[in-house]
Every structure is written in C-alpha cells, then in structure tokens.
Symmetry: C2
Subunit: 223 residues, 2 copies
DNA sequence: ACAATAGTGTCTCTCAGACAGTATCGT
DNA sequence: ACGATACTGTCTGAGAGACACTATTGT
C-alpha cells in the first residue's frame, strides 16, 4: 500500500500557427529516448498543485510565468510504470507563446512539439502519456467553448483577431472574423477593452483587450 | 515519498424528490462520529476505477448495480489526513433510487442524506469531504446540460416526466413539461422509445424510453 | 363528467450564421 | 490609390420559451 505519486504536465502553447505541447526526451530507462510529458515525483510536504508549479518552472526554466494551471485527471493503472506502483496526477497548463525550454535535470532534451505530430503516434510516447495528451487535448477544446480559457494563450493585452486565432488553431477550423468579433465583445465579462490600439497585425488599428473576470461564457462560443 | 492512496465516492441518487448522497458515520478516529464519504485504500494490484467499484459494492451491499461511475478529481493536500500523507482520488457515481445501504465493515452507519442538508454544513464532514461533495455537485449539475447523465438516475425504462423530475431535483428549479418533452425527444440519440406505456404517474399513459447511445447532447438542455 | 398527466401546435423573440458595407491604418 | 485588417449593420433561418389545445387514462 505504498505508492509513488507523480505529477505530469500537459503544457499547451501556440507557436507558428500550431498548437504545441511540451515534451522531454527521456534520458533514463524505462522508455529511454522516447518522448514523455514533463513531470516528476511529488515531495513529502508538497501539495499537488505546488508540485505541478514546481515542475513547470523547472522544465520551462522560468519562474513566474503567466500560466493557467488546472488539474486534468489521475492515472493509476497497475503496471503503467514498470518500476513501481505509481499514481500520476496530470495537470493541464496553457500559456502565451513561450520560450524554447531549457533541458531539465534528468531530461536529455526538452522541446515544443506540435500536437498533431505527436497525437497520431501514441507508441512514440512513454508510459500512458499518449492517453494523457489525448485527454488534455479534448479538455482544452471543450473548455474553449464555455470558458475564457482562450485568453490564457494570449499575452496580457491582445486583439480580437489574436483571440480568434487561438480558437482557429486549437479547433483546427476557420471562423468568420465578423461574427466572432460580435460574439466575444458581446459576451459579458469575457473581454475588457483598453484604450490602446495596435497595428501589429496590419490593416486598421485594432483595439487591445484584457481578460475580464468571467469564469464561464454564456452563451458559449460555438464551434 | 511513500503515499497512501485512497478512493472516495460521491454517490448521488434521488429519493423522495431530493438529491441525496451516500455518507458513512465514522466509527474510528480521526473525525470519529462525523459523516464522511464512503471510500478506502486502493489495493496493491488494483486499478483506481476497480477500487472505486469495489468500495461502491461494499458500501451499498449490492454487487452488480446499474451505476455510472466517473473520476471526479484528486485531493492531496499535505495534512488533509492527520495520520499520514494520503492522496485521494474522488469518483462520482449516479444511480436510480437505491436501497438503504448496509453498514460497512469499519463504518458505524451508512445512510442516504439529502445534499441540501449536508452541503451547507461543511464542518460536519470529515477531512476535506465537504469540498469533494461540493465539487461533485457542481460537476453533476453541469453535466446534466450537455450529457445524457440524467438517464443514469432513472431505471432502465422511464418516462419523459421521470427524466424531467431528475433535472428539476438536481437543478432545484421547475421546467416547462411541454417544452422539455419536445427538447429531449428531439435530441438525437438521447432517448430511444420503446413500444410500452405506463400509467404509474397517473393521467394519460406515457411512453417508456431507454437511454440512447449519445454521449453528448447537442443542443444542450438549457438550465 | 372530471381531474390529471401526455403530447402537439403555434406564436414570438433571440441569436447564430452569412455577408454587404464602412472605417482606418501601412505602403 | 490600394490592399489589408477592424468593425458595424442587416437579413434570414433555427431554436427557446410561453402557452393554447387535444388525447387518454383512473375515479
């Protein structure tokens, strides 16, 4: 009845118009040289969320990232780790375009990889991490609809077009810019307009917004 | 780095027009004589879901219940159990009107209690079980909207009115019987009509339905 | 006959999607 | 001037809510 407890992280970001997740190449057995989700053991006096935060800071090399972290699910099949009985609490993280990660202590290599390159090849991933990735992806896609989660992929201040880009990349579809604009600006508490504009995407200057304090979108953003 | 791992269960059913959950009164310290969610330690070679099923069968005294079980969340704050470091994986269960439970092995008493009696008094519950109950309630209410979960509260065959009653009890509001009827019978894959009718609720005989194979309701049932 | 519940039809209002049209920048 | 993007207005069709109306039972 003594279990090891780990946290594993599905860290999503958007790079070059693609949804990417953070992976490490394992430097030690088991599954040596295969890709895995970043993670590690929970310490004796450490909460689960604290452990997730610590691992995230470790792997990205940055300390105070503007990152949304939430619990995804827990995986504990006997035999999922051949060394011992391990229960893994998976966390889901979202951030704006993040820097290339530093290689961690026991990882040979850490890199952003597009999820549409990894998800179709579950056998390239260590342990049950393909399942965790798949669950994380499904959760992320669903939460875009009814929560302001998409703003977690954006910088502090962002335009409506940048927000729309998040939806388009994560869902893999195109959205009508005009209807999208009406929908998100009309959703109470979703977006707070600033008094600044930007032309960084070309064309007419676009108003910059910040995330509002809404936790749920009503009505949802239809897919 | 050796953790105890338990499963805790939030088991919902509907009794006497009220949403009830299963509680046990603790017969041993800590939190002796307080109410707790049923649960127990995961065994050495046992999967998490298997452990939840086993505990559920234990506590209800029945073996092959028509019960929906899904993982809720995992709770692992240091100090949540004063005896040792314990990580608890909570599961959410739903069943039709279930029999009064047998007292389990190490529980002094097991009973159905209406959640609106328990939720407002978090201090009457052991450990962090008030939080778990609250999370389970929120999840259940949300899932009624967009999943066929409500059918898990009904018997194998049920009427539209019985299904509506589930929504009304869990959400604590009244719904228009006519619009509800149109909505659920028009939701593809939600309900499969049988060729039988019942008058058990009085009035004109109502057609009996079974759950369909839909896993998601589109459009959702509005609250 | 009457009460009670099941189920259908209809109206109205709102909202989502399609898309025309206008505004304001860089080049 | 022209291309590009931002934003607004308008039309239409689908669906939600309100509620009248009909159907079929038990008493």
């Amino acid at each position: 009845m003594a279990f090891g407890v780990t946290v594993d992280l599905v860290v999503f970001t958007i790079r070059d118009d693609r949804l990417c997740a953070l992976f490490v190449r394992r430097g030690i057995p088991p599954h040596r040289d295969r890709w895995a989700l970043p993670g590690g053991f929970v310490l004796e006096e450490e909460g689960l969320l604290d452990a997730a935060r610590r691992e995230l800071a470790d792997e990205t090399g940055l300390d105070d990232l503007p990152i949304h972290l939430e619990q995804l699910a827990t995986y504990g099949d006997p035999g999922r780790d051949p060394r011992m009985r391990v229960v893994s609490v998976a966390y889901l993280a979202f951030g704006p375009e993040l820097p290339e990660p530093e290689a961690g202590t026991d990882a040979a290599e850490a890199r952003w990889r597009p999820v549409d390159e990894m998800a179709p090849h579950p056998d390239q991933l260590a342990f049950d991490h393909a399942q965790i990735l798949s669950d994380g992806l499904e959760r992320a896609r669903a939460k875009l609809e009814y929560s302001p989660l998409a703003t977690a992929f954006c910088a502090e201040e962002f335009t409506v077009a940048e927000l729309r880009h998040v939806y388009e990349v994560v869902w893999g579809i195109e959205l009508d810019p005009r209807n999208f604009h009406r929908k998100v600006t009309g959703s109470p508490g979703f977006l707070v307009p600033t008094d600044r504009r930007t032309t960084r995407n070309g064309g007419r200057p676009a108003l910059l917004y910040r995330r509002g304090d809404a936790t749920v979108l009503n009505p949802p953003i239809a897919r």
